[in-house]
């Protein structure tokens, strides 16, 4: 049997690079419970206790939860509807919509923040969570991601299914959805992470302090900075691990990386 040649210097380099990627997250978790006192290291969960008892901060965590879960709930069905049209529809409108989606994906928020602020005031969406949920839910990333995945499904399958039923919903449910589960999982994860990490839109589109998400308000809360940072990252890490397990479970032998294959 042929043995694979191992390149030790590059192996060491790759391991070191991976440690560097993980180290900041581990360091934040470490410093959130280990404190230096009189030259000694002490394990303490005091910061967590202060934070969990702080009603104001917990309300902001709840705001972030509402915005993130709301964004996920809105983005998934809307992106799927749009992706079905972009991948299985016909006409020049499709090309124009794809072009606009890519364009807006690339534009930074600052390029349209002022008219968006005025528009939100006019529509009554300013200073509401619904406004932020719609902003995240209608972003173009989800539609483009799902379009890419649905296009990889052979058209013949869609054609064969449409011979049996004319219901688009049924075809989507029976043929498309089972084949794009990894894409839906990735979309949910990205959508949650993006909304959880919302900074500029939250500053511009919200006025009342009690409505703000934790991504904006934690900056002013210096007493519990380490525990705050750790607790703030926790939902994303848990969701990431959970989603990986789902994808791995479905794939049997693989990891989430198999979506690239």
């Amino acid at each position: 049997m042929k043995r694979r040649k191992v390149y030790f210097p590059s192996l060491l380099l790759l391991s070191a690079a991976l440690m560097l990627f993980l180290l900041p997250i581990l360091a934040v978790l470490f410093f959130s419970i280990v404190k230096m006192q009189d030259g000694k290291l002490l394990v303490s969960v005091e910061e967590y206790r202060i934070m969990l008892q702080d009603e104001w901060l917990m309300r902001h965590f709840a705001n972030s939860g509402i915005i993130s879960i709301g964004t996920m709930m809105v983005q998934l069905p809307l992106s799927l509807c749009l992706a079905l049209f972009l991948s299985r529809g016909r006409g020049k409108a499709r090309v124009i919509v794809i072009g606009l989606l890519i364009l807006m994906l690339l534009m930074p928020f600052q390029t349209y923040m002022l008219p968006l602020f005025q528009l939100y005031k006019w529509l009554g969406l300013y200073d509401t969570h619904v406004g932020l949920i719609l902003y995240g839910g209608l972003s173009s990333l989800g539609a483009l991601l799902l379009t890419f995945f649905i296009r990889s499904i052979p058209e013949e399958q869609w054609e064969a299914a449409s011979m049996e039923t004319s219901s688009i919903l049924r075809i989507t449910w029976k043929v498309i959805l089972p084949q794009i589960i990894p894409a839906l999982v990735i979309l949910l994860l990205l959508s949650f992470a993006e909304a959880w990490n919302l900074v500029e839109p939250a500053i511009i589109l919200l006025d009342h302090d009690e409505l703000r998400p934790v991504s904006v308000s934690l900056n002013d809360f210096h007493e519990v900075s380490w525990a705050g940072a750790a607790l703030y990252a926790m939902p994303v890490i848990v969701l990431y691990i959970g989603m990986l397990l789902i994808v791995r479970g479905r794939k049997g032998d693989g990891w989430a990386i198999d979506i690239f294959d």
Binding site: G91, L114, L119, Y135, S162, Y240, F260
Partner: protein, 270 residues
């Protein structure tokens, strides 16, 4: 044929709500930004005078200059690291899968969670030197985005035809030569994609900068996004719109060039 048309119409109707919502929340505001550039001139001034005044403004010019200079540093460092990481993963395919899973994680982790660590690590405060601040921002950018760019490159590597690589090796191609002369030209599309990804995230670096330095970073790191955000607070519609439209044009220019490069490649392969 008729059935296909009916399906197409049904799909369009299904997509109407997201399309209208997207147009309203994203495309219309961007269009309005361009409109304000021509219509929201300050009272008592002509459009040409106002534009001239903005172009002469020290902060406006510095914002654009810094955006380009710091962009070169970020993209250069980010892309070189991504390239290096993808090469390491190609050499160690048994480690590649866990590596990708680890390297994608920073993209998902909220910036605030690590910004405090970076502030402590680089001792960032109001008196910090700009080189230190630039280093901190560059490190944060590289940590957050290069892993995903490297994963994009690696995903392209695993689809390369083994026969071509074997043939190159038989011809006496060394490891480095194989990577730069054979592998990279074959994944040109994904190289462009990873560069676009890095560029897109660079244009959104205001979030990282805001969390590290607040509204007022050192002068050398004052980007056009800071100019817009600060004038937005004063509700100066004209200045914000001119800066936003200029930045949008700059984005379009960059991405247009990238799209042209990718298109040219496709024509050649035909």
């Amino acid at each position: 044929m008729r059935r296909r048309t009916i399906t197409s119409v049904k799909l369009l109707l299904l997509a109407m709500i997201p399309i209208l919502g997207f147009l309203l929340i994203y495309v219309v505001p961007l269009g309005l930004t361009f409109r304000y550039t021509f219509t929201a001139t300050p009272e008592g001034q002509t459009w040409t005078d106002s534009i001239h005044e903005i172009l002469q403004n020290r902060y406006f010019a510095a914002g654009f200059r810094n955006l380009l200079q710091f962009g070169c540093a970020c993209l250069g460092a980010g892309f070189s690291l991504a390239l290096g990481l993808s090469w390491l993963m190609v050499r160690h395919p048994h480690l590649a899968r866990p590596a990708v899973l680890i390297m994608i994680l920073p993209l998902l982790i909220p910036t605030f969670s690590v910004s405090h660590l970076v502030q402590e690590l680089f001792h960032i405060d109001l008196l910090s030197r700009w080189e230190v601040c630039a280093g901190a921002l560059l490190c944060l950018y590289c940590w957050k985005y290069t892993g995903t760019a490297a994963s994009i490159l690696y995903a392209a590597h695993i689809h390369l035809q083994r026969e071509v690589l074997e043939a190159a090796k038989l011809d006496g191609c060394g490891e480095w030569r194989l990577f730069f002369r054979v592998r990279l030209p074959m994944i040109r599309g994904q190289v462009g994609l990873s560069l676009l990804f890095l560029l897109m995230d660079y244009f959104r670096i205001y979030k990282e900068s805001y969390l590290l330095f607040g509204r007022y970073p050192p002068d050398e790191l004052y980007l056009i996004q800071h100019y817009m955000a600060n004038h937005y607070l004063k509700m100066d519609v004209f200045r914000v719109s001119v800066a936003a439209a200029s930045m949008a044009v700059l984005c379009l220019l960059f991405f247009g060039v990238a799209a042209l490069l990718l298109k040219e490649k496709r024509v050649k392969t035909k």
